[in-house]
Each structure stands twice: as C-alpha cells, then as structure tokens.
C-alpha cells in the first residue's frame, strides 16, 4: 500500500493546498476500487498495484490534468519578445564585459591572466544574473498583462469600432530604439559593477599608463550596486514594453513616464549621497601630475568638479524631463489628430 500513498502524494503535492485533501481521498477511493476490480477478492499483490498505478499515468501528467491555471511563467503572447530581449541582453553583457576586459588588459598588461580569469567568472555570473532579471521582468509583465485579458475575453463581445486602428507610421517605435536602450542599460550596469574605477580620468603619459582617477568612491559605491541593478532591471522593463507593443499608445506612454520617474527617483537617491563621490579626486589628479595646485587649469577643473557634483542630479532630472516632454510632444498631437481623422468614418 506504500506505493499507493507515495503515488497520491506525488500527485497532490503539486496541487493547490485547498484541494489536496479532497483529491487525496478521491484518488484513494479510486485506486482501491480499481484494485478490487482487478483482484476480484484475491489478495492484492505488488504487481496489481503497479498495473493500476501505471494505468492512471505518471503523477505529473495526472497533476497537470487537475490544474486549471496555465502552467507557464511567460506565455506565448510574450515569448517572442522575451527571446528577443534575452538575446539582446546577453549580447550586450558579452560586449560590455569584453570591452571592460580589453581596457583593463591594456592598462595593466602584467595582470592579464588575472583579468582573464575574472573576465570568465564575470561572463558566467553576470550571464546568469541577466537571464534571471529578464525572466523576472517578463514574469511580471505576463502576470500583470494576462489577468485582465483572461477576465474580459470570455464575456466581452467585440465590435468593429473596438478593433485597434492601424497605427500612424509616425507612432511606430523602431525596434532599434528599445534595443539601443537595453544595450546601454546593460553596458552601464556592467561598467558600474566591475569597473567603477574606470569612470573618470584614465591617465596616460608618453603612451605609458599612469593610473585612473575615478569620480566615484569605489568602496562606498559598492553599497549602491543593488540599486544599480534595480535601475537596470527597470530600464529593461521600460524598453521591453516599448518593444512588445511596437508603437506609442496611451498605455506605453504612461509606462514610459512611470518608469522614467522611478528611474529618476532611484538616481537622485544615489547621487544625492555625498559618500558616492571620490573625496580625493583633485588630490589624486595632482599626484598623477595632471594638474599643479594653484594653476589656472587646476582652478578650472576644481570649479567644474565642485559645481558639477551639485548640478549632476539636476542635469539627470532635466534629461529625463526633456525625454518625457519629447515623447509627449511627438506622440500626443499625432494620436489626437488620428482620432479626429477617424471621426467622419462612423
């Protein structure tokens, strides 16, 4: 009888908890009935049990039949876009890491082997990260997108007027746009994660590498890495939505705005923290003989450095704002125009 219990357990453990007990009892009754029918009163052998259970099929198959919910993370509606974006992300991770490896190899050729080992390790770990984030993003899109469609589809009658208009060509989003966006997002993530010390001045003198002066405080910055990855995931989601829809609709515009605001907030949180900036930036430039204290050039760079940090957040905000306004200005009149254009038809 042990096998029967194990079989039932294998079926029911994959089912929602609320139904388990009921299905367990029902299956138990069924299997006993089937055994009885088979043996006609003689004692049950292990062979009988095996035949009966085999007749019911594998526990996985049976559990699937009991489940009504679709058993996938990313459904057919989004699968093509998922594969496309996964490919883009993987390729840009590869490119980003290779560039960062090449730069490091150029700067310190003596440590080539070390660089190479960390390059390989990074390709694997970041590849897995990228895969996970893209899949996670799409699971959210699937979860958010599929539900209302399912609810509406069965009752809603469709009408001719409800058919979506053929979009204005000017409203189409070129595939290259989200692809570029994703590539840059991933490149930034790779750069900030692995080579934050390279963001700044890389000093060469007479073709000899002298050193780097990062604008960021390398150790303090690591605290913000999860936030950087969050930013990247948000950016990928933002671009994915554009890629899936392929045209500017009200919803796509709204999602673009929401993502932009979310990205801005995260960036402000990070760059407002004085600890992320390198406090010895000017001193290190002096140490590498780039600048001499007191010189005009020194004053000039120091001015930009001090003011620039303050203004950086505002610049980021301004860029985001301009991007949002551009989209609005570009899309809104066309959408309005095409809606008016349709009026005389019906």
């Amino acid at each position: 009888m042990d096998y029967v219990q194990r079989y039932i357990y294998a079926v029911t453990q994959k089912l929602p908890e609320g139904q388990r007990e009921d299905i367990k009892l029902e299956l138990q009754g069924l299997i006993e009935d089937m055994l009885e029918e088979r043996t006609q009163g003689r004692p049950v052998t292990e062979g009988d049990i095996e035949t009966v259970l085999r007749g019911l099929g594998s526990p996985q198959e049976l559990a699937v039949k009991y489940q009504v919910r679709p058993r996938y993370l990313i459904g057919p509606a989004y699968f093509d876009a998922y594969i496309a974006i996964l490919r883009i992300v993987m390729i840009s991770i590869g490119i980003g890491l290779t560039i960062s490896f090449a730069v490091q190899a150029l700067i310190t050729p003596a440590e080539l082997l070390e660089h190479f080992v960390s390059y390989i390790v990074s390709v694997i770990t970041i590849g897995v990260q990228g895969f996970a984030w893209v899949t996670f993003s799409f699971a959210i899109i699937e979860y958010a997108g599929v539900k209302p469609k399912d609810r509406g589809a069965s009752e809603r009658k469709w009408s001719l007027a409800e058919l979506p208009e053929v979009p204005d060509r000017r409203l189409l989003i070129k595939r290259s746009e989200p692809i570029t966006g994703i590539i840059f997002a991933v490149l930034f993530a790779v750069l900030f994660t692995f080579s934050v010390e390279l963001i700044g001045a890389i000093i060469f003198k007479d073709g000899q590498f002298q050193g780097t002066v990062s604008v960021f405080h390398t150790e303090n910055f690591t605290r913000y890495l999860p936030l950087i990855w969050g930013l990247t995931a948000l950016s990928i989601m933002k671009e994915s939505v554009k890629m899936i829809f392929g045209k500017w609709t009200r919803g796509v515009m709204l999602s673009h705005m929401i993502f932009n605001v979310a990205l801005l907030i995260l960036m402000v949180i990070m760059f407002k923290d004085p600890a992320v900036w390198n406090p010895y930036f000017m001193e290190q430039l002096v140490q590498l003989n780039v600048l001499t204290p007191g010189s005009e050039a020194f004053e000039w760079v120091e001015g930009i450095w001090n003011e620039g940090r303050k203004w950086f957040v505002y610049i980021v905000g301004l860029v985001t704002f301009i991007d949002m306004v551009t989209v609005l200005v570009k899309v809104y009149p066309i959408r309005k125009g095409s809606a008016e254009h349709q009026e005389p038809v019906h």
Partner: protein
Amino acid sequence: MMTDIQEVVNGLLQELRRGTIIIGVLSQLSEPQYGYSLVMILEEKGMAIDPGTLYPLLRRLEKQGLLESEWDTTESRPRKYYRRSELGTEVYRQLCSDWREMNRSVESLLDLN
C-alpha cells in the same frame, strides 16, 4: 504505410472523442454516481474513459456549476458522489438537441460521398 494511416486516424479520433466525453458524462449523472462507477457505466455503454481523465473533468464540471457533489462516508470507503445540478441539466438538454442537429448534418454530409 498502414501504420501511418492508423496513427493519423487514432489522433483524429481522439480529438473527436474528447468533445463527446462531457456530454456522455452529463448524460449519466441524473442519478448520483461516484467516479469509478461512472467509468464502469460508460465503459459498458461503449465509451471507454481513462479514470485519470474523468476525475479531473468531474471537478472541473463541478467548478463550472454543472455538477454537484457530496461525500458519502457511510460505506466502508468514503466516496464522492456527483450529480447534475439544475444548471447542468439545462445545459445537458441543450447540448443534446445541438448534438442531434450536428449528427444529422454530419450524416447528410457523409451520405453525399
């Protein structure tokens, strides 16, 4: 070649049968039956159905409101009895007339060839 034809036929036949199972199940549930007794009844009348298919189907039909169920714990082994609900009976009636209609149409198509 023969086996290929048989395979195609089997595949198509399975699809055809799948559609008739529900009407078959509904037809036998004016009186309460438990899953396995229903398997036996249907088999006897020429509609063989795998219990692994029937049991989940009964639950689905119950969830749709076409069947009602009740556990009987007075016997030596507890059994869940299903019967048609009012809605189920209504649906079954309509299915019956639609089925006859469909049957006639298909028959007349077949006669032509």
